[in-house]
């Protein structure tokens, strides 16, 4: 894996030390060019208009669906395009045929996007210890868990937890926003029924996708143009999934850009990316853990490409601005996981998140900036 060559595809890196990929990844030239091709060459409707441009859009969208399905080990008809992971999880919460009294279990470490949609049901938490879950789940209609946490980078053993959930008769939903960009995903092997993820966290534009198992019996979520085969006397005949969930004109440029992003990642290899991030994280952890007044959240765990720091005497939001002033772009705060931070009485963390385009120099700048910020505490 030639990081120097990869960095040439991301012009932003010439000016900035970008360590906020858990929020928004950068886009390589190839993705931007693929999207521009849509805008310049065939900016039309897909799956409706039968003219040349319309057909081209339909072909490109279905090619993208196939690519993205293969990327996560699914069949094309099991992939629904969404705005983002949040919409995918809302789709799950609204399309699963649940009653108000049905039990939904999430971990205590969920992003608001995998917590708020479930609160209208009989919701319960399973608690983490040192950032990790035990292999034990209560009986529930739905278990919805984050795969890799955006707070600390710790991954839950979703394969084993999925088996337990299924043994308990639960539908198993996985928030894959932070895992799909960083490791090989096979939704079948993970034993999940629904797996939501985002394009913008994996080199793509702002778009999402959700894997929905063909075995699920689902209600409609968003309805409208493109979701029905016919409407007669006010009675709609809905199309099968995925069309049934893709209401209205889609973000075609986004879908095409998503495909280009997946192709880019596949070319480099997800195993290589995972190994590269782990190596950089190890280097960062070794150095940062030596800095007085700085601690890394769940330091001893395997944390993917995330280093979540607590700096004594400096608020996390202030610290992130300090890092910015020292030329290192990262994120501070609760990372949309207010419940977990409130429960653990923490002000927040300063989170550096690495990706395939980060190098040792970026990590060294992070370490130097951390030293300077820690001096203020």
């Amino acid at each position: 894996m030639n990081v120097d060559k990869i960095r040439e595809d991301f012009p932003v890196l010439q000016k900035h030390t970008y360590l906020d990929s858990a929020c928004m990844s950068l886009k390589p030239k190839q993705v931007v060019e693929a999207m521009n091709e849509y805008f310049y060459e065939f900016p039309a409707c897909g799956e409706r208009s039968s003219h040349k441009l319309g057909k081209r859009v339909t072909e490109e969208v279905e090619t993208a669906r196939k690519k993205i399905a293969k990327f996560v080990g699914a069949k094309p008809e099991e992939i629904v395009f969404t705005k983002n992971t949040t919409e995918g999880l809302n789709l799950a919460a609204n399309a699963l045929k649940l009653e108000k009294n049905d039990t939904v279990v999430t971990s205590d470490k969920e992003h608001n996007s995998n917590l708020l949609p479930w609160l209208k049901f009989n919701h319960d938490f399973v608690n983490t210890k040192s950032g990790q879950l035990d292999l034990d789940l209560p009986k529930a209609e739905v278990v919805s868990l984050v795969h890799t946490s955006n707070i600390d980078g710790v991954s839950f053993p979703v394969k084993e937890l999925g088996k337990i959930a299924h043994d308990n008769g639960s539908v198993f939903v996985v928030d894959g926003a932070q895992s799909a960009p960083h490791k090989e995903i096979d939704v079948k092997k993970l034993n999940c029924d629904i797996f939501a993820f985002s394009g913008h966290k994996m080199l793509g534009p702002s778009i999402g996708a959700v894997y929905v198992s063909k075995d699920l019996d689902l209600d409609n979520f968003l309805v409208g143009g493109g979701t029905v085969a016919n409407v007669n006397d006010g009675k709609p005949t809905f199309l099968p999934i995925p069309e049934a969930f893709e209401a209205g004109l889609q973000n075609y440029a986004g879908i095409i850009g998503f495909r280009a992003a997946v192709e880019y990642l596949e070319k480099i290899g997800m195993k290589n990316i995972e190994k590269h991030e782990a190596g950089l994280n190890k280097l960062a952890t070794e150095q940062i853990s030596q800095i007085e007044k700085v601690s890394i959240l769940h330091e001893s765990q395997d944390r993917s490409g995330i280093i979540s720091m607590i700096i004594e005497g400096v608020k996390s939001t202030e610290a992130s601005l300090m890092f910015d002033s020292h030329g290192v772009l990262l994120r501070g705060g609760h990372h949309c996981c207010h419940n977990w931070f409130n429960k653990n009485k923490l002000d927040g963390t300063v989170r550096a998140s690495l990706y395939l385009y980060n190098n040792q120099s970026d990590v060294e700048k992070l370490i130097e900036a951390a030293k300077k910020v820690a001096q203020l505490g």
Binding site: V314, T317, E318, L321, M322, D324, S325, Q375, L376
Partner: protein, 300 residues
């Protein structure tokens, strides 16, 4: 909140020169508006400024950065108070300038920045006519460079310029002559009395010694002090008191003042170097340039 208000003024000025600061100005307005509506500031403006300032300081002095970081709110309050104070002073000066033509108030001839800004200062300097030397002179009376200082014993600006005299005489020796002419200004207390007292001392050949004592004691000057200073120089006190109390030199001082007014002198100290007026000289280097030109000119 505190930094929002302080920032508003700072960035309003800096925003004239750079678009970067205009964004900060808009943020500080937004932040202050929310605070006035008792809502929290939602732009992290305070935090961003705190981060930028402390991060910049930490590049050179981590200890100072830590000090600023820990006491940012307190320092913001001090900054705000100083800014409000200076804004009020500027507003007061502007009012005086509009009402009386000088930012220092009625009857003042002290330097006024507004006059300098609108060009009227330069115009007024151009209007000053040469004045004839009167009174005790130091240096060579036949020197090629004649320097006259028109000052006031009660004027703090004249006091600040006092060091120039000896520097001029030390540096240029026989090439210059130096004359001090006292021009009393009504708004300075005891300006007439001190001017008269100096000439009373001159009567007893102690002019320059007494001149120096007047400036040294300018801040605590009273009629009693004027007499004490004369005693200090062991002057004949009967004569000195008679001279001062009977205003023997009042007419002479008035003549000097009338001449100065006729010459359009509007501020003290005003210097004349071979007849050319200079107002508001703040550094000896300026004198070196002016006098140097005069000396070289006389040699040509």
């Amino acid at each position: 909140m505190v930094f929002c208000i302080a920032g508003l003024l700072i960035f309003a000025i800096l925003g004239v020169f750079s678009t970067k600061y205009r964004r900060y100005f808009r943020e500080s307005i937004h932040c202050m508006r929310r605070q006035l509506l008792l809502k929290p500031c939602d732009t992290q403006f305070d935090q961003e400024m705190k981060a930028k300032i402390t991060a910049n300081i930490s590049k050179t002095s981590p200890k100072l950065a830590r000090f600023v970081f820990k006491r940012f709110a307190f320092l913001s309050w001090i900054l705000l108070i100083l800014m409000l104070f200076s804004t009020a002073a500027v507003a007061f000066g502007a009012y005086n300038y509009i009402a009386y033509g000088n930012c220092n108030g009625p009857y003042s001839s002290d330097f006024c920045v507004f006059g300098a800004l609108d060009g009227s200062f330069d115009e007024r300097v151009k209007d000053i006519k040469p004045i004839e030397a009167f009174g005790p002179t130091l240096g060579n009376p036949d020197a090629s460079v004649e320097i006259i200082e028109v000052g006031c014993y009660a004027c703090p600006y004249t006091k600040d310029a006092e060091g120039f005299r000896n520097q001029l005489l030390d540096k240029y020796g026989d090439n210059v002559s130096f004359t001090f002419m006292a021009m009393p200004l009504e708004h300075h207390g005891l300006s007439w009395e001190t001017a008269e007292a100096a000439y009373c001392a001159e009567e007893q050949k102690k002019y320059w010694e007494y001149h120096d004592l007047l400036f040294e004691n300018q801040d605590s000057i009273t009629i009693e002090k004027i007499k004490e200073l004369a005693e200090e120089l062991e002057l004949d006190m009967n004569r000195f008191n008679e001279c001062l109390d009977d205003h023997i030199f009042r007419d002479a001082v008035k003549q000097i003042r009338d001449k100065a007014v006729e010459a359009n002198i509007f501020a003290t100290p005003t210097y004349f170097v071979n007849g050319r007026p200079f107002v508001g000289i703040k550094a000896f280097a300026d004198f070196e340039q002016i006098v140097g030109v005069e000396i070289r000119g006389s040699c040509a």
